[in-house]
Symmetry: C2
Subunit: 210 residues, 2 copies
Amino acid sequence: MAMTENRPQTRIQREKREIILEAALDVFSSHGFRGATIDQIAEAAGMSKPNLLYYFKTKEAIFETLIHGLLDMWLDPLKAMDESGDAIVELRSYIRRKIEMARDFPRASRLFANEMLQGAPRIMPMLESELKPLVDEKAKVLKSWMRAGKLKPADPYHLIFSIWATTQHYADFDIQVRTVLGPDRGGDGRFEDAARFLEQLFLEGLRPTP
Amino acid sequence: MAMTENRPQTRIQREKREIILEAALDVFSSHGFRGATIDQIAEAAGMSKPNLLYYFKTKEAIFETLIHGLLDMWLDPLKAMDESGDAIVELRSYIRRKIEMARDFPRASRLFANEMLQGAPRIMPMLESELKPLVDEKAKVLKSWMRAGKLKPADPYHLIFSIWATTQHYADFDIQVRTVLGPDRGGDGRFEDAARFLEQLFLEGLRPTP
DNA sequence: CTCATTTTTGACCGGTTGGACAAAGCCTAG
DNA sequence: CTAGGCTTTGTCCAACCGGTCAAAAATGAG
């Protein structure tokens, strides 16, 4: 055996590791790294603790594998912002994509949020090696659009921050959003309402045109 | 004794409880409830664990007292939004006040963020009894401004969410903001830059005026 | 079927955690 | 000074934590 692949080994190992990572996302995202326990993850994955530790040597190893796999997906919408496209269209679809990610992958958002709140002790290297260069690149793209008169001049970094903040808010503070909106307005439609509002906010602002 | 007050008792008790709460804010805000330990708080407060437990019966009691005391301060900027004032001025100063709070009280922001991420298990009652009614009230104020043509029509709830999100982002994701901005642009000026950007964003948006 | 390899588990370990408790120190009113 | 209450601490405990280990069970190639 061990001919198809030599690192992740057998098919069953790949499957079990996937189940564990899915369970770990549940637990880590809602309790943070330190607040999560291996027992919780093992129970959520439907296996015993020693069995889980057969697939991942340590708690850190689970976390690291998990967050590595999620970061690329998480940065995809920003990567997709295309300099050769129309500025307004690109900005609008970036916002759209980000709020769709908050809707479809809220646990990933909360996982990152938890890590950031604690000072990013485990993902700082990835922030510097992957996130920062990507943001620098896209900030240049935004700047070039602004110079070309396609967007109003503004700080591109804070623009990106504000898109992150407003969209991820609906994942990270979901409980607060639903509590404030109440049972009627806090249903599934809230993401669509948010998308509409944010589109207007980022493009038109709130000052009335006289 | 015990004549001046009968609940918080002696002066020394009030002082020590204050020291403990200050230390607890440090520890809870950076590790979350479960990640924080009584030992850490006791050490940060400069006293032994049994001594700390003499002033607060349980870890939960510390947390509850802390978050109760902070919520009012945290909601102050929104409370101050005055219906009889000018809509644009009021909106602008709300944003300003919120970002000043993120700058001056980042630990309080992170404490709330940590709690929200975990589904607000400990402060849900306060969200319903204090936060929701306040937001409902201010949403009506915003709506009335919009009807009067002082602001563009928009969803007032999502407007409030987006102000929370963008401002608190600079406290909650401080490490990410500073990493992305780098040593030069990530200095003390970042809050002023953010305030300027957000003011433009909320009032004017980014679509260029032809 | 056979047997080596992979997978699963119960028992266990040292360290940490939230909290209890009693004894000791300290302060101050009389 | 001294007695009574307030404050502080060392010690202890049961539960929990991350992780180990050896042995048992399941698997699958020949």
